[in-house]
Amino acid sequence: MSHVLVDVIPKALQRASAVRVAGLRRAYGSIVAVDGLDLDVRPGEMLSVLGPSGCGKTTLLRLIAGLEAPDAGMVEIGGRRVAGAGSAVPPERRRVGMVFQDFALFPHLSVRDNIAYGLRADPDRNVRVRELLELIDLVDAAARMPHQLSGGMQQRVALARALAPRPDVVLLDEPFSNLDAALRTQLRGDVREILRASATAAVFVTHDQDEALTLGDRVAVMVRGRIEQSDPPEVVYGEPATPFVATFVGIANLVRAELHGRVAITRFGSVRLVGPRAESAHGRALAVIRPEHLDVTEVPDGPADAGAWRVLGRRFTGAEILYEVIAPDGERLWVEAGHAVRRLRVGDLVSLHLRDVETVAFPIEHLGSEPSGPIGVASTATPSSPAEHAPPPGLTT
């Protein structure tokens, strides 16, 4: 659809995408790793591709790099067709840099020679290598061999090596997964700055949502070989396009609601809807209620009143505490309480109040045809890791 548009705009007016992918498909036997995928990376942009393990992220990168051939669809890099419709440019002529998960430094070459590898006949070779060594702050380690470097240093050398020939785009495959937690946070910042400084477009895939949200100018959420949503991080979080995106990025409660145009009525009262999908829809829907959308107040001891929720479990995240709560009708939710609220215990009764927020809702009839919506969790939240669960409410009292 979009390439029709591009075709009518005069060439001079458009700046070619760094990478454009359309209808890309790759299957291994009966397993479809990439399934009719579309993607657009703008020049200088950092795009993070976020998805669960096995969603086809790495295959996508390898298809762009030319390390695998697509079954269908096309890939353009810097406005040049490199795969699809009869063209198959080999990886060495694609002007793509790649940072591998294990870094894949050449073990027989020094740091300097690793970085210089792609610069063969370049007369400014030494200048460029020096420049990159300064960029990654490893000038003193230039003569060292890869096995003498720490994981973080190897990571930076791998990035410099990929950037050296000034590629149109750098692909990073789970670039931080082999580093320990403390190093990871620091290197995220480093890598972002290095990529910014070199003004190179980058695509990196990760299954870590923190990484995707902090590093990407845009986040593309990928599931089962397709991109579900591709937007700036705050939009992906605030206006998820599908129930899957809502529950995969951050924690979301999908709460039954009745749509009335731009307003949804939930059991907590009405909430304003945002986003392009907030049209004059009517009827039953699931509204996304984030844990921070609800205020938690403790209900004093005594006979349980009809509207009270019971605390089932607790998860401490550092900045705040998440509680799983259950209603008398069996609906379960995740709610958030800051440290100001007295620490609740499992079995405590609380009441919930919706704050003045905007959110999105998914009409239920649409969900029927939605390929990826986790309808089965209609009334429960699915946090990414299990909390300490209390026994069923019947047993606690």
Binding site: P90, R94, G97, F106
Partner: protein, 549 residues
């Protein structure tokens, strides 16, 4: 079996890289004295032959220096170096393509070839040597087949050519296995990275794949060189005067101890030089390999296309020369011998003797290995490392040298032991001990000291806790180590030749004796038994390779 241990488990003597589980017990900060004393005695026993040769050489008078400078000595040295270099080069030419074909290509029947080309690893050089003489020698099988045409004698296949051919066929598996390991351990992503940086497939091979493999190839080549330096069986059958044959001839012909000892020391020097180089290269190869992570992809398979025909021809030729011709020749002479009523009794006697010595040596080395492995695994220290290294010295040196030194020591210090079975068994147990150390040490690190500590809190004494709790868990490792010692002992030639009691023939000495006198039919039966045992050895080694390290 020289060097196989180092292929499988890294360099001998490197301290174990264990995690917290193998940490020394809190209750026993230092090694118990009896354990330390036992280990020192074992190390001393292992060092004795080399030490003795050193002392003798230092004590030799000025006339000894003349011996070193004799033209004859130079001649032997030059022959040995020439043979070693040719074998090193030849094994690389044969082993590297085989390694690549069986790991990275779509060669038809790749898995079967991978096993077939590795089998010659365990066939002793003198069996291959015997087979080649008995097939292509002046009065070999080929001459027998050509006899109706009036061919009465074929030209000799001995000398440098024959020795090189036989030793290349016996030793190329060292290069093959070393290169294979490197190919399997190299991260294929490095090759992909090179392509993304602008290199075509062939350029990637030249700039990345090959340089990464070179240390492993060279280290394998040097193992083959060590094999050639240490070999006694093939060079003596093919009558090529390298150091080991010269030492033997010198010793047998004139009982000239001084010259034999000096030749032996020159051989030791050469061996140590090569061992040092091999160790350096092996370490570099290890650094290139890097850790194997779960996220690593398997290497892409290179389609051979039309090249699969020459590739198949190459593999077939190697298997024909290294496996089919030896086994075929042995079978031919076996059938001929039986049909002519030759006696298989020799083989039965030899087999019984070999098995007796092998079993005794296996038990002996298993008894000796437990204290050494215990010290190294549980009480790692500088001294423990030195002791472990010491046990490796005898193993790293040519058998003929050790045999000679043991003969000297026995005749001059303990004549009662000279030419007894006991001496032969002790010599074997000490020399092949290192083969068992690796597996037992790994097993001990895996078991850890916690079980014994639990036993101690439940009222066991330290010895009882070890015997009751740890030892049963070590049994698989002890059995595997013992089996390896058994198989190696059964195939060993020079020590059996020099140290065995008079009239005591093992399979090895029977083959060697019969083959050197031209009684090919008589050598065939014991050779057949040894080839069968070799297949068992390879199976054992491959199983050990599959086990997680």
């Amino acid at each position: 079996m020289l060097g196989v241990e180092s292929l499988r488990r890294g360099r001998p003597g490197r301290p174990p890289r264990d995690g917290g589980r193998g940490a020394p017990a809190v209750t026993a900060p230092g090694a118990p004295l009896p354990l330390l004393v036992a280990c020192l005695l074992i190390a001393g026993l292992a060092l004795l032959p080399v030490a003795y040769l050193m002392v003798r050489a230092v004590g030799a008078d000025v006339a000894a220096l003349d011996l070193v400078l004799r033209p004859r000595t130079f001649q032997v040295a030059a022959s040995t170096v020439a043979l070693a270099l040719l074998v090193g080069g030849g094994t690389i030419v044969v082993g590297v393509p085989l390694a690549w074909l069986t790991t990275r290509t779509d060669l038809p029947g790749r898995r079967l070839w991978a096993v077939l080309v590795a089998v010659p690893l365990a066939i002793p050089s003198y069996v291959i040597g015997f087979a080649f003489i008995a097939a292509f020698g002046p009065r070999g099988a080929l001459q027998g087949m050509l006899a109706p045409l009036g061919v009465e004698r074929l030209p000799s296949i001995g000398g440098l050519f024959g020795a090189t051919l036989v030793l290349v066929l016996a030793a190329y598996p060292y290069v093959l296995l070393s290169t294979r390991a490197a190919l399997l351990q190299t991260d294929p992503a490095a090759e992909e990275a090179a392509r993304l940086l602008g290199d075509r497939r062939l350029t990637v091979f030249r700039r990345v794949t090959l340089p990464i493999l070179i240390p492993a190839i060279a280290a394998g080549g040097l193992l083959a060189v060590l094999y050639a330096l240490a070999d006694f069986g093939a060079v003596s059958l093919l009558q090529f005067d390298s150091f080991s044959r010269a030492i033997y001839v010198q010793y047998r012909a004139s009982f000239d101890r001084a010259l034999a000892a000096i030749l032996a020391l020159m051989l030791i020097a050469l061996t140590l030089l090569v061992t040092w180089g091999e160790g350096r290269l092996r370490r570099r190869a290890g650094a290139y390999a890097g850790p194997v992570r779960a996220s690593r992809r398997p290497a892409t398979v290179v389609p051979l296309g039309r090249w699969r025909w020459p590739a198949l021809a190459f593999c077939s030729t190697v298997v024909l020369l290294a496996l089919a011709i030896p086994t075929g020749t042995i079978a031919w002479w076996l059938v001929r011998g039986v049909s002519q009523g030759a006696i298989l009794r020799f083989a039965a006697d030899g087999a019984l003797n070999s098995f007796t010595v092998g079993a005794a040596a296996a038990i002996g080395s298993v008894v000796l290995v437990v204290p050494v492995a215990l010290l190294v695994a549980r009480y790692p220290s500088r001294l423990a490392t030195i002791i472990e290294r010491a046990t490796f010295t005898g193993y790293a040196l040519p058998g003929i040298v050790i045999a000679l030194a043991v003969v000297f020591i026995a005749t001059s210090s303990v004549p009662l032991l000279y030419q007894t079975l006991a001496l032969l068994v002790i010599a074997y147990a000490v020399r092949f001990l290192p083969q068992a150390v690796g597996s037992v040490r790994t097993a001990l690190v895996g078991v850890g000291p916690r079980l014994e500590e639990a036993g101690r809190t439940l009222g066991d004494g330290p010895v009882r806790a070890f015997l009751q709790l740890t030892l049963p868990l070590l049994r698989p490792a002890l059995v595997a180590g013992g089996a390896l010692v058994f198989l190696t002992t059964v195939k060993e030639l020079p020590m059996a030749l020099l140290l065995g009691p008079i009239g005591f023939d093992t399979l090895a000495t029977e083959i060697w004796g019969a083959a050197s006198e031209g009684f090919y039919a008589r050598a065939a039966a014991p050779a057949a038994i040894l080839v069968a045992l070799s297949a068992g050895t390879v199976a054992l080694l491959l199983r050990a390779e599959e086990r997680p390290r």
